[in-house]
Symmetry: C2
Subunit: 689 residues, 2 copies
Amino acid sequence: MNKPFLPSDLVAPKVTTGPVQGSRKIYIVPEGALVLRIPFREIVLSETSGEPPFRVYDSSGPYTDSAATIDVEKGLPRLRDEWVKERGGVEAYDGRAVKPEDNGNVSDAHAARVFPTVHRPLRAISPSPLRGGWREAPGGGSPQSPELSTAPPSPSPQGGGEFSDAATPSPRLRGEGWGEGPQQAPAQAADPLSVEGTGGGNLLTQLEYARAGIITKEMIYVAHRENLGRAEALARAKDAIGDGESFGAEIPEHITPEFVRDEIARGRAIIPANINHGELEPMIIGRNFLVKINANIGNSAVTSSVEEEVEKMVWAIRWGADTVMDLSTGRNIHTTREWIIRNSPVPIGTVPIYQALEKCDGDPVKLTWELYRDTLIEQCEQGVDYFTIHAGVRLPFVPLTANRVTGIVSRGGSIMAKWCLAHHKESFLYERFDEICDLMRKYDVSFSLGDGLRPGSIADANDRAQFAELETLGELTKIAWAKGCQVMIEGPGHVPMHKIKVNMEKQLKACGEAPFYTLGPLTTDIAPGYDHITSGIGAAMIGWYGTAMLCYVTPKEHLGLPNRDDVKTGVITYKIAAHAADLAKGHPAAQLRDDALSRARFDFRWQDQFNLSLDPDTATAFHDETLPKDAHKVAHFCSMCGPKFCSMKITQDVRDYAATLNDKEIGMADMSEKFRKMGGELYIDAEKQ
Amino acid sequence: MNKPFLPSDLVAPKVTTGPVQGSRKIYIVPEGALVLRIPFREIVLSETSGEPPFRVYDSSGPYTDSAATIDVEKGLPRLRDEWVKERGGVEAYDGRAVKPEDNGNVSDAHAARVFPTVHRPLRAISPSPLRGGWREAPGGGSPQSPELSTAPPSPSPQGGGEFSDAATPSPRLRGEGWGEGPQQAPAQAADPLSVEGTGGGNLLTQLEYARAGIITKEMIYVAHRENLGRAEALARAKDAIGDGESFGAEIPEHITPEFVRDEIARGRAIIPANINHGELEPMIIGRNFLVKINANIGNSAVTSSVEEEVEKMVWAIRWGADTVMDLSTGRNIHTTREWIIRNSPVPIGTVPIYQALEKCDGDPVKLTWELYRDTLIEQCEQGVDYFTIHAGVRLPFVPLTANRVTGIVSRGGSIMAKWCLAHHKESFLYERFDEICDLMRKYDVSFSLGDGLRPGSIADANDRAQFAELETLGELTKIAWAKGCQVMIEGPGHVPMHKIKVNMEKQLKACGEAPFYTLGPLTTDIAPGYDHITSGIGAAMIGWYGTAMLCYVTPKEHLGLPNRDDVKTGVITYKIAAHAADLAKGHPAAQLRDDALSRARFDFRWQDQFNLSLDPDTATAFHDETLPKDAHKVAHFCSMCGPKFCSMKITQDVRDYAATLNDKEIGMADMSEKFRKMGGELYIDAEKQ
């Protein structure tokens, strides 16, 4: 990054800023962790509702904060950088120099402008202290999780140092004059590990800290973030606490930092958080937390620009994307990614083999371990939070795909299959997996073990190639855990509804409950142009069964690259799937939003209904198509029935009628008896069905 | 209809005609029933595919037949009129005169033009011979169904008369000079019943014929229609025959007319076919047939016109709507409906209480049995094929909705609740149900027993009001069956995923396996503007569990009336849900289309992929956004990976490689052994999981 290309383009990316309609950004500063500001979005309801503002999870970062100043040239504030340094065990160093091939040997004429600010990368100063690997839940050595505790978050015995608010965050980080060299301990950094006495600086990843019983700021942050301050809301509406079928998930009514730590220690959840992604607002991916969604962006050899991609990222998180994958494959890959990461408050994932392939003229046969490793280092230093690595595509499995209808559709999977066949060798990703772990652990880059053999059609779903790879991913999970790395597992793909559940069951079993991260799945192949829907069906179902993060599919899947509108459609569709899954799992707070919106609908509080929806702009626009007049926003009717008659109004009569019956009569217990009296001999107690 | 209003509008409705992209209309004339022409759509595949044209079910009627002349002024040919008359037992008579209130007392200035052609209505000349009511499957008295018979459809012993092709259909029916008066038997009509000897003309409804062991032309028609000529296709691709979890559905590999008859006799399927809907191309609704979808259209007091509604119907069936409900509530209701039915090849459903309400100034309290009955007669004579009747909304159940978040959201349900409360009387629909049956039986109008107490929010799902009503619908089903009427049951609504399955189970139990017809269900309340998706998820699932027809929900649900684009989006979304359900149920032929499209995708036959999709126009447009050049339609790459590299191409290398292994090695049985040899000790047989 020290040798910028000649700028061919002096325009800074334009991004969408400002609050979502009807909402305002708020921050909660948790007791005992005063350096943390947890972001939420509050939907302000009309006075007539008599209801407090409704708080929702907010992945959109400072872009929706009307008080924030956004300068894409500078990138977002790197508040988290302080947390990493005060924990210690890291060193700043001169990063790998950017090479022409990092950007596809783009000519100066086509080179995108380099991100102006340079940050020196951090890395671990010592190897992982962890040994032993596979930890059966409950995570060995980690204290029992007080899963049902409703106490406010409190410092864990070992983690006390984490709660000092002495170290107030410096607004911006200067890359110089601090923590030079492996031996020099960070000047003002508190070293919580001295408390623990396991040798300061030996721990680096969230998994290592969790296993050592230490609660990091990231863990505290996500605990509060997941709670949504729902304690009060649930107190107001006890009956809204979800029932549901959890299929073994155990979501506590209140998430404590200790619960987060324990889930991470067990490997059941991850916080994708590269130590070089200081701009990150930490989030957690796990079956016992809110179901998350990922949005894929990225340019290709055929289309798109840096500007578009940065805006796509900002646009995607505005509507609720929890993580973003940059799948760029064309020129300017390195530069595009730098702009994205420096401006991203959400974890960024990549598929490093894509860039590695660009570095050898798109010829998989020319791929080498050295070239791949160099690409990993490049991306580790930039701050990529998770890597998709297709180390489960092994030579012996490749022939299993020969008779498939659609062969190998995973791009990374087919690259590795090609390499294995061309050299008739086992995959270097598989054989060098230890080295990959050691490298990723130094930066706490999480694994997203890729499903390179996922089915690309209904015909190929759940075949032996797919499940053979899944077993291998389970073996690799053990190794990565032993090395101190966080892991999630990627899943299909194209799967008909009746074959979805077994995918979840096999994954939990094979991969020791590591978080599952699936692409859809698409439940039919026959609707190109609508694959956000064919896959939204499968995503909702597999999310219900236990998938922790759903990778979105846009309407352009199989047809082209998504534009800005497609990204929004994909994100909203997947927010629907994730929320439907939370409801069905019985997430204790999920139904609060459904109830709030339904109350607004029932009361004809149109504006509240729009603002409580996943997409207030579209809801408002659709309503206004038929009834544009502002008066109709408060009208007690809608275009479906018209002003003369309205079904909702009639229910008031019902309530008045019911009120005339005494409580005993209306009481559930006595209704059926009452029906018999009233000639309701047909009535049968619903509970008895 | 003899007193037309002054025409305020001389323009005939414009409708969309012409074939769907890449398809052609074909007709199959079944052996043994030469008067029948069964319509299909054939998707013509490119020569390079080496595949025959792909045949799909076609609900679009003559509008997509390039050889057909469409004249909306005349309406469609009334071929089915002959079938009804030759069966006998019917009489033509002077229909009820149209009254001003039938069109909401519209002023001449706002009156829509009356449909030009007048048809004298038909009705049964005798009461139903049926007695006894509830028939446990297998349908009493009906021969065992040869469910696995693969023999070509052959006349049933009793039904012989039905197969004569002497009566060639007259292209148009003249309403005069035929079958006057109750006693006069139809001139040239064969009387199959004389064969049966149960008293000629005593039978009228499809259920009555089915129970008498007689196979009607409608039954033969739907049998061939459901088969899609799939015998040959399945012979070509045995391995594509669906596995799947059917939850008790039993879909034979080949549908015979006798199987259709038996399913109808058991009450497990219906053919909604008013004897006055001569334009109808019969279709069947039942759990052991293809899952069907319904599209709602209709104007309201606020918006829309006759022209729009007729085009919406034509547009909806073009994209796959199997039935259409006209839910008009404003002025010109009668005239709008007449234009729709005379031009509709699919069954038309209505909610008669909507029009009845218009006839008493929108005040439910003023509703009377006489007014309602008169409305039923009006619509029976027009040819409406099924009525939604909310006879399960009983006075005793109304208080059960008092504590709901969204009370009663069914328009018909709330109308009846209001009436019951205002008069403190039991519903006249419930008390007069026998009379309603006798009336509907005369025209073979099918019941769609309405779920007036369906939940309108997640909070209200599966509550006691909903299930109390469902039990009542089960009782009413027995009565309707005893009266010779065909019945289906309406279902919710708003239901979270984990509460969907029990809805299906209770319905099957309570209603003797009568077909279930559900609205979605919506799996969350928080996405107005996207409720085609929130409900498409639930629709796919409940379709899998056994729902026979899915009522679509458009993006405008809760916000406004759907326009033409919304209708298409709703229909395509529900075609996805229905097909995903067929796949998951293991419908023997469902996967053929997925496989054909996936082969096209894998072979880069772009045009074939587009044409095989549910919406070729959109698929083509999306592809062209990124790669507009025609050259790219044959290019062996797409915009996702670009020309340099393509994952699909690599699979060819895999096949070449696999080819170098001998059959034994590649044989599934020996692969795992082979893996161990190759160091694949991690390999575990997927089947053993």
